[in-house]
């Protein structure tokens, strides 16, 4: 899977905006949106929010978790625990990148937020690598990792699956009377 595809899936998440135009309720295949009244907050998917923002028709309200104190708390917790902490949004990385690139003016302390999210990401990816290494070295057959996001899984997917395939082939050599052709 491409990171661009993961970003596409992330754009389905809902975010609050404050439009400066008015429009009646619109009926889309995915669901109903609106009605839009200037100055009144309304929930829309991220793809629509970004489009409206680029046409300067709205102001994006940052999600509740996109706040320096909350993110610092999450970062500290992430560093303390060995397992993955539940994070407020399954698409935190993509949403951070999209919202900070397109509407940094609507989000207070944008640079700090970017740094904090990057720290959280680095910690989680390091934990993922550690658990992949222990998975392989102990030759386990089954592992359970809670609270992982799609983007994190996506970065290690091809590497981990290939190495597990090779390990399986090498392990089946241990059984007498069989040798693999590959």
């Amino acid at each position: 899977m491409d990171p661009a595809e993961v970003e596409f899936l992330a754009e389905k998440e809902m975010v609050k905006i404050i439009p400066n135009f008015s429009l009646d309720k619109i009926y889309l295949i995915g669901g109903d949106l609106g009605p839009f009244n200037p100055g009144l907050p309304v929930e829309v998917p991220v793809w629509l929010a970004l489009n409206l923002k680029q046409r300067q028709k709205c102001r994006i309200v940052p999600p509740e978790w996109m706040d320096t104190d909350k993110l610092e708390e999450i970062r500290e917790q992430e560093r303390k625990l060995d397992t993955f902490t539940p994070i407020p949004s399954l698409y935190y990385m993509e949403l951070t990148k999209l919202l900070l690139n397109h509407s940094a003016d609507n989000i207070p302390k944008a640079d700090e937020i970017r740094t904090l999210v990057k720290d959280i990401w680095d910690t989680r990816v390091a934990k993922l690598r550690l658990s992949a290494d222990s998975f392989i070295s102990q030759q386990e057959a089954h592992a359970q990792l809670d609270n992982l996001t799609l983007m994190e899984i996506n970065t290690t997917r091809s590497f981990l699956l290939d190495s597990l395939n090779y390990m399986y082939k090498l392990r089946s050599n241990l059984q007498p009377g069989r040798s693999q052709d590959y």
Binding site: D2, P3, A4, E7, K97, N101, R129, A132, D133, I136, S137, Q139, M151, N154, T155, T156, R157, S158, F159, D162, S163, Y166, M167, K169, L170, R171, N173, L174, P176, S179, Q180, D181, Y182
Partner: protein
Amino acid sequence: MWWHRCSCVPLRPVYAEFELSLTAMGAKPSGRNVQGQRVCQRRPGSQGTKMEMPLWLAKGLYERKRRVLSMELPKVYREGWRTVFGADPTVVDLHKMGPYYYGLGSQLLHFDSPENPEIANTILQTFIGRFRRTMDSSQNAYNEDTSALVERLDCLERSLFKAGQSGLNSFQLWEKGRSSHLTASSLVINYRKRKITDLQA
């Protein structure tokens, strides 16, 4: 048929000792394969001759019951090197020891040597021991010259390294926002097509 099956296994010479005269079997010890290359030396195959031959040929000729040939293990898979791998697999230059350590090792198990379980175990443990190093180096080297990291890796590990790098590169490209950036194809740039406006000028 053999050529197709072994297209991913290299023409790696394996030392085989003939236990039976091949002429007695009615087969010729030399010949040309599909591509017209000389496969083995033309020498009368008498009993006890040591000969080099490609792996696929040795596999085809090998038969447990009739004992046409027995195989001599390459030194990387023998006792001495096995203890080295057991001690610390990460220091070994696996590319120099045979770029297909894992693949060839798995194929050699076909020849029913008495040391097969130890060989298989060593190969597996070597892979597990070197896994961490490969993972770390592939996931952390972004936009650098990786030749120093890759040169000590076996071919199997190199393909893993490539997979890790491609995952890392595509993520970094996305983060910079360049994954949806249109760029001119390198072929077009290399053509250096002359535009009609440049010609008229």
